[in-house]
């Protein structure tokens, strides 16, 4: 009896989370996939099994090549932001994590500094986004200081509502997702390994490249998954910082939902999901997270 209990115990323990996942994640996802094959009118959706919504999502995409259709251009733009933000947050996140683990000696200082990296999350997304206007706007702080210092004569327009401001906001938001997992992997690196590398005559760069980076790979992979999934699905930051002039996959879906075109929005959501899953699958080919954890 006792044996039975202990054999089933892990399942019982996992059950609450599994049920939550099932009801709030798996089920809605299945519904989304199902609805993406339905038909719709302005006020209703009808069960069916048609590929029309996918056809609309990729309307003229293949016939008009090499000219890019709206969908391809939207995803290309989103991928571009994704790549840029990923690279920048990776370099920043890695550097900051390295500093916290190897340069800061006191545990308390490390804890406080790590908490400081979460500052961007202390206010709501909307307020944070609006606050960029007085800073980067045409009459904002940056432009005013540059002009009064005599560096520029006319305000710089590309500081706000541009690719630059989108990347800036996304980096500002997402760096912490890179820092935390890398910090976690790095802090578990046995310091004697670094000392051994040093003793055997490895230069600083060699130690970094051959010891620290390989041992932080799990953290980098997890951080990358966070950043990539967040940026691929983001439409609020891209919307506000891009002055809504920059398309994103999420924005397309939102516009369709607002127009009550649920099935076609669902189809686009499925396409987005497939693309993100493909990226993550590729990432996981490089790092086996389970093995390294």
């Amino acid at each position: 009896m006792l044996e039975m209990k202990s054999r089933w115990a892990p399942y019982w323990q996992a059950a609450p989370l599994a049920i939550v996942f099932l009801i709030f994640f798996v089920l809605p996802l299945l519904v989304t996939v199902a609805v993406s094959f339905w038909t719709y009118t302005g006020y209703s959706i009808e069960p069916a099994f048609v590929g029309d919504n996918y056809a609309t999502a990729f309307d003229k995409c293949f016939s008009s090549l090499p000219e890019l259709c709206t969908t391809f251009r939207t995803y290309l733009s989103t991928l571009k932001f994704c790549l840029m933000v990923w690279l920048i947050t990776l370099v920043l996140g890695f550097t900051i994590a390295y500093f916290l683990v190897f340069e800061v000696k006191s545990n308390n200082a490390r804890l406080i500094l790590a908490l400081i990296t979460t500052i961007p999350f202390w206010t709501s997304n909307v307020i944070r986004m609006i606050s960029w206007i007085p800073l980067l706007g045409r009459n904002g702080l940056v432009n005013q200081s540059l002009m009064s210092a005599g560096i520029i004569a006319e305000p710089i327009d590309w500081l706000l509502y541009s690719d630059f401001s989108v990347v800036l906001a996304l980096v500002h938001l997402n760096t912490v997702f890179m820092i935390v997992p890398i910090l976690n992997s790095m802090s578990r690196i046995d310091k004697s390994l670094v000392e051994a590398a040093y003793d055997t005559g490895a230069s600083g760069w060699q130690t970094l490249w051959n010891v620290i980076i390989p041992l932080s790979k799990t953290g980098i992979a997890i951080g990358s998954i966070f950043v990539i999934t967040v940026v691929m699905g983001d439409f609020i930051s891209i919307g506000i910082m891009g002055g809504q002039q920059i398309a994103s996959a999420g924005k397309v879906i939102e516009a369709q939902i607002n127009a009550l075109q649920f099935p076609i929005a669902a189809a686009n959501a499925v396409v987005l999901l497939v693309i993100v899953l493909m990226i993550i699958w590729t990432l996981l080919r490089f790092v086996d997270i389970r093995k390294e954890l």
């Binding site: 302005g42 939207t74 706007g137 904002g140 706000l160 809504q244 075109q261």
Partner: protein, 428 residues
């Protein structure tokens, strides 16, 4: 987007009335006749679904005071109002929504028509809404003009009636004529046409609103003014007309004409107040908000006319019993003048003009509705100085403004195609 929040209608601040529905009922019978304190024993709460622009804690507080009915505001965006009615028709007791949405809402069967016999002032409703005319003169009719969708064949019908019936889809609450907002201090010359939105002179300083069903109408006004597209009906474009309209927008976007697009009221205020834009699609209360900051902003009348909209009360299919009675009572109170005056003072127009006039000071009425210079300082809803004595309302009188309506917000037959093209514009 997390812009949903439920607001209790300002009652808690009125400590005088707190926990004393009897007082409320008593005040009601003494202050205004015709509203017996039927709810004195058991206050009824109505969940009032609409956008933020249609809600005001002052109206809820006054309604509570006079009728004893609690108004609980449910605040969502324009598109979400429609979405809620379609997907969660039981989540509200009263909705204030735009007439253009009716083409989707009525076929869904989620509404019950309002019984005209229970609405006291039904014959006094503004003719701009009920007949599409002012003082017997026809006004612009393109798009979903309210009079086209005002009546149903039967109470639970799904067909709009061509003639007046006793089944009303929405009892009008507010309506207005929208145009471009400009910063006269930064433009420094007269603006007279919608075509100025795409004038290269304002490169990088223009904005259009990114709510497709409304933005496309502004775009149509611009295209028509530029002479690029001739429309059969701007409010119901053909695919070809949509293509041409969007093509002009894409060309302008690629040339860097737009600084940003906006999709909510506050964004439009921020863009204009910060000087990021000098000419853009705008709504009346947003212009007021910019001006209350002490920044010059004009709701510029244009020679091609206005794009109008109208909003009204609808009842969900399932509402019945005491709540249904309370909804009718609230609607009757709403039309009785106090609320109308409150809305008129924000630059909107009230559904029943006579009663609103009785609730306004003569100088207020003269400024807001007759287009006369203000005799005294005009104060905003928050008590701040809105207009100094001597100024004239942008666009002039009610008859001039509403008389110059060119088209109404609408849902087109080709709506799905339009959304697809609009997304193309955003992605361009």
């Amino acid at each position: 987007m997390d812009d949903k929040n439920n607001t209790k209608g300002g009652i808690s601040r009125r400590t005088l009335l707190k926990g004393s529905a009897i007082t409320a009922g008593f005040l009601g019978t003494t202050a205004v006749t015709g509203f017996p304190a039927v709810h004195a024993d058991e206050p009824i709460t109505l969940r009032y679904l609409s956008t933020a622009t249609n809600q005001s804690p002052a109206i809820a507080a006054k309604a509570k005071e006079v009728t004893g009915i609690n108004i609980e505001y449910v605040t969502v965006t324009t598109d979400d109002v429609t979405k809620r009615i379609i997907t969660q028709p039981d989540s509200f007791d009263l909705v204030d929504t735009e007439y253009f949405a009716l083409r989707n809402l009525i076929p869904s069967g989620n509404f019950q028509a309002i019984d005209a016999n229970k609405v006291k002032l039904v014959d006094k409703l503004a003719t701009a809404i009920t007949k599409g005319e002012i003082d017997g003169k026809k006004i612009g009719d393109q798009g979903t003009a309210p009079h086209k969708v005002l009546y149903l064949e039967k109470q639970r019908g799904k067909e709009f009636a061509k003639e007046q019936t006793e089944w009303i889809t929405l009892i009008p609450t507010t309506y207005n004529a929208d145009t471009l907002g400009i910063r006269p201090d930064l433009i420094k010359r007269p603006i007279e046409s919608w075509s100025e939105l795409l004038n290269p002179e304002f490169k990088g300083k223009a904005s259009i609103l990114n709510i497709p069903s409304i933005g496309i109408m502004d775009a149509a006004m611009v295209n028509e003014a530029m002479g690029v597209v001739k429309y059969g009906d701007k409010g119901n474009m053909t695919k070809e007309e949509i293509d041409k309209t969007i093509a002009t927008l894409i060309e302008a976007k690629k040339a860097g004409q737009f600084r940003a697009f906006w999709s909510d009221f506050n964004e439009s205020v921020n863009l204009m107040a910060s000087g990021e834009t000098v000419v853009q699609s705008m709504w009346s209360p947003a212009v007021t908000a910019v001006r209350l900051k002490g920044i010059p902003c004009t709701f510029q009348p244009l020679k091609e006319g206005y794009r109008a909209w109208a909003s009204g009360f609808g009842l969900p299919r399932t509402l019945k019993g005491k709540k249904l009675d309370a909804a009718y009572e609230f609607i009757n109170w709403f039309l009785d003048g106090w609320a109308g005056a409150h809305l008129n003072r924000q630059g909107y127009y009230a559904a029943v003009l006579d009663t609103a006039q009785q609730s306004m000071e003569p100088y207020e009425w003269a400024f807001w509705m007759e287009g006369k210079p203000a005799e005294k300082d005009i104060l905003g809803p928050d008590g701040g100085l809105l207009e100094k004595a001597g100024t004239v309302r942008d666009g002039g009188s009610y008859n001039t403004r509403m008389g110059a309506v060119a088209c109404w917000n609408s849902i087109m037959d080709e709506n799905a195609y339009m959304i697809q093209k609009w997304n193309e514009f955003i992605a361009a």
